[in-house]
Symmetry: C2
Subunit: 220 residues, 2 copies
Amino acid sequence: MIQPRPRTIPEATVARLAVYLRVLTSLADGGRTTVSSGELASAAGVNPAGLRKDLSHLGSCGVRGVGYDVRALRERIARVLGAERSRACVLVGIGNLGAALADYAGFGSRGFHFVGLFDASPARVGQSIGGLTVQSMAELEATVTATDASIGVIATPADVAQQVCDRLTGAGVRSILNFAPVTLVAPAGVDVRPVDLSVELQVLAFLGQQRAVPAEEVTA
Amino acid sequence: MIQPRPRTIPEATVARLAVYLRVLTSLADGGRTTVSSGELASAAGVNPAGLRKDLSHLGSCGVRGVGYDVRALRERIARVLGAERSRACVLVGIGNLGAALADYAGFGSRGFHFVGLFDASPARVGQSIGGLTVQSMAELEATVTATDASIGVIATPADVAQQVCDRLTGAGVRSILNFAPVTLVAPAGVDVRPVDLSVELQVLAFLGQQRAVPAEEVTA
DNA sequence: AACTGTGAACTTCTTCACAGCC
DNA sequence: GGCTGTGAAGAAGTTCACAGTT
């Protein structure tokens, strides 16, 4: 049992590894067997040197003068990211966004599957989405326990997100992806990752206006 | 016309300013008139010193010993982010995710409004979502031109995202938010911001497993 | 000849510590 | 006393350049 690498991969690298995994899967499906860092970087939208540095964190398996074996590299990244075994997730809040997430094929192919969908509205409960039936909120804890789900996705309105977070963590969920536009507090040992679609749009718009008006006055 | 500040705000700061804006609006709605950096930072999930540094980029308007005026600070951030005037966006791909985005109230309250929804499926065209009627793809360029939309949101399947991107940029769109799991290439002067929901989940899951198994072997 | 792997320089971001002001 | 604004220190991430390998 040797320790092959100092087991710390920078978070920025992890995010890009997920992108490389997607690109490599696409390349493999297209029949490609080898790929160079330049091609892969271009397809992933990153710098080639940065890509090689990213891969070096997992004790890289490229061949100098040739490139990377597509399938071997994909397997290696999938193993590091833990995308080999599919992980159980529960989703709370089956509004428009929640329904979209429940039905999103991308999760299934990337190592995640939903084992429970929950909504507070009686009108939603009983509906079938993506092969699952929406359950009432009363069943949340029991389902989390029974399925041993470790990941929770919150797509509820902002005003109930914190109490949903409390119930999820209370039931044993250790990681939460939060789409509600509110900052959640969770016990130590629980990761909360916020995804705010409005923030993405605002950053995009700001960069655009900064480019368009490089030296404009802001004082009224 | 003096130049009050070197007009370069770090991108990381811009993203947080959008969060502060959200929190300040919530505070103002709750009747709060002043707030300290500590409180605001806690509500936004960031470090207080970092928040003050962020605000210093816009020639801060806090009062030492007291804090920040909630309404004044909100106005100031909104002006810098350009969130005062509402910007026209078009949305292409009205599947589950697209429909969710079209109906998402969060955009309207943050300085964005959709002026066009487009889908390739005849079954979708003519449907009404969030006050707009879904148009056919043939009408894309004409609508972008007529409305002078500068922001495009792509929520199509991956295999058509690039050609949608080409058409949007060809019609004059300068900023693109891309939800399709594919890397887009766009002409110089056009910003593309990818949002990959699977990547977010994968990063979250990795951090969780890294915490759970700090020194596990990866070699098979 | 081609391409990987990586130390080193560089840039960006974060955190600290404290002076300055109310 | 309490809180802001900011220079300085530190950490993290990115890019470069080139040695090393096939």
